[in-house]
Amino acid sequence: MLTRRSVLRASLALPAVGLLAACGGGSDKTPMTAAESTGSGASGTSAVEGTPTPIQSSGSAPTAVSSMATPEGSPTASGEVADVDFTIVDGPEPNSLDPCVGTAYQYAVNAIFNRLVIWNEKMSVEPSLATSWSVSDDHKSWTFKLRENVKFHDGSPFTSADVKATIDHILDPNTKSNRRANFTLIKEVQTPDDHTAIFITDPVTPDFPFLMADGSANIICASALQKMGGADYGRKPVGTGPFKFEEWVPNDHISATINEDYWGTRPLVRRFVYKPVPDPATRVIVLKSKQADLVFGLPPADVPDLQKDSSLKIIDSPSLTITEMQLKQAKPPFSDKRVRQAVNMAVDKEAIIKNVMGGFARMLKTPDCPGLWGAFEFDPLPYDPAKAKQLLSDAGFAGGFEVTISYTSGRWPGDDQVVQAVQSYWSQVGIKATIKKGDQATFIADLTKDPATNPNLVVMPQRTSYYTDYQLYRLYQSGAANAEAAQRSGYNNPEVDKLLAQEREEFDSEKRLPIFEQVQKLIWDDQPFLYLFSMVNLYGMMPKVSGFTILPSGDWVPGAITKG
């Protein structure tokens, strides 16, 4: 039997903390290094049993205006630019580097573009291309002051026209923007002068600055877009970021060279390279043979071996990506709360985290994303197969029932084994699960299937949410659950809907937090999903590399990158 302490140790992934202790010595001068971000994340989550606590009460509300002039330090970084490549390796090949079209793009896009505002460690926002912002008294218009003397890579100056062009581009029906629906509340972008952009929104939203930190809202160059057209812009992007796009050899690499005129902290390496390596085993080889500076997406099973290699640094940092199984619950069996509680109690999640995920995952204790402002923690239902059986029989399913678990195999390391573990735990309480492996397209078709006609379907997506309303509204609001395809579990709680409607219009963060707490408590009691775990960003790097940040959002922030 596992002791509570051993489980805690596993779920906090101490190995990485140990590494921190080993390498933390000389890094106190650089404010945001990858290594330190790990530390703050690992210790930042504290749970007091019984009483729900805001996970990130220190994070600031989106409406708070910050007016830091240069968030990433002074533009004149000390030190010479070394004539070396900085190489990042991950699995996917992007389809486009147009920020609002691309999927699996963020490393290259983060190197080439800037947004108006940028996430920080606590998932609130800081100035980037905007220096300050404010909302009008009627909450309908947001005014952003833009940074002056910023140039695009093609030499044209950055002005409010580019901000307007970015929003127009996202909303253009001919752009295949994948998050367009989030931006349709922007009714107008006004540009009273070159360095002011005013957004008129309907409905009003207190989360507007968060929307400007979305990956889709990276600012594109109006004149270059007009000259090239969308498809070509996605192949030869022009941004304001620390690296200028150089070349993209499909499925081989994307490279960018240093932007000598960068307005923020300049990296101290000449070239940025992103290489897609689709096979996880090959990524381990790339790391071991030291052919990249940073390798993402390491299989947890290989990590203990890699950690023994003192010439590598293996780091895990908090991530906003969560894994859960969504239960289609418009009809029995999952329409019964007792059944949903039973499927949660039947699964030993701590054991899965420890044995399958190698400790590189954290137990979900909130219907929100752990790590977001406004996320509250609750006690997870204990692993109790006897109680689960009892609940099932109370609900009239003493003989169990059959379900199908649909998921995408090979999307993240450990996915097959997690599904198999759930299948075997469920079989112990009489639920017979058939596993359906598919590619992403097959899976999305299942994810969006009508809950009313597919009552025994369970789907396992991985999701990333960037702010609390984004997570709660998308997953638990009954309208979003039924009409819009992103979430089709069929979860429907009128009380939850009412509270969500309230918090969406509440601009006072002090008043908004209690609503967040209340709505999350209701949802947690309903247990609409099988809550599994939140992921960690697991990556390996060369020990001499420093000067960048990996954020919980999955973004990496190029700062004064050096290779020692």
């Binding site: 090949e93 389809n95 689709p278 090959t282 397209a441």
Partner: protein
Amino acid sequence: MTVYIIKRLLALIPVLIGVSLIIFGIMKLIPGDAAEVLVGTNGSAADVERIRETLGLNKPIYEQYWLFVSRAAVGNFGRSTQTGRPALTEFSSRVKPTAELAAAALILAIIFGMLTGIVSAILQYSVWDYLVTVVSLIGVSAPIFWTGLMMMLLFSVWLGWLPATGSGSLSRLIMPALALGSASTAIIARQMRSGLLEVLRQDYVRTARAKGLREWTVIARHAVRNALIPTVTVVGLQFGYLLGGSVLTETVFARPGVGSFLVSSIQARDIPVVQATIMLLAVAFLVVNLLVDLLYAVLDPRIRYS
């Protein structure tokens, strides 16, 4: 001869129509479409519907197919749903590394396969023969992703001689070509061995020896040349295997190329790219086999095409 070639090329047309129908049918039968993949798990139904409209995916299926065929007939395969660029551009920007890989693997397979096949036939039941048999067995049985990873461990991690991934230089071609070519080498070696053994029992070989020719001349001029016909057939068919194997090889070695792109395009339900790629690969395969048939006449003067 010319008439024969023209006839064979014309026969391509029904084959290609069949291929296009099958691909289109399968891509439509499997669940999910390009719009859903583009939007992913974070978008909404409205986003999916709008992209479907942009891509023309909400038109009736026969209309979509007709649109495709009528355009493909004049060499326009449409635009990739993933990147928005012409499908042919996407194909041609990746064809070079795959062609290099397939050619290198085929050349390796032919050279090593024929040599070891000849050696083991001449020295039948010797240690060399058994060794070649065992190594061939391993070559055929070991999957590419396993041999690939083992080679990377040896040459990239332990010895540090070769880069593990990428393309564009000879050092990056060696391991993928060996991994991809190993199975074909083994098959060609087995074919060469059994073909040669049969020929060596023929009367004309005994006659050649009887008239006092040197053993080397007997083997090279009389035996091997006659054993080549079945081997060349196998080589032509191996080309198809190599194209298929390039998918795995490119994935394991993170090489850019048509194979890995085809897989990701199928996963993204990118029908224009899948159609363009498979049809062009089908043409390449059929042309290679036509060349093999023509080669018969060169090898064996008794064969005539008229």
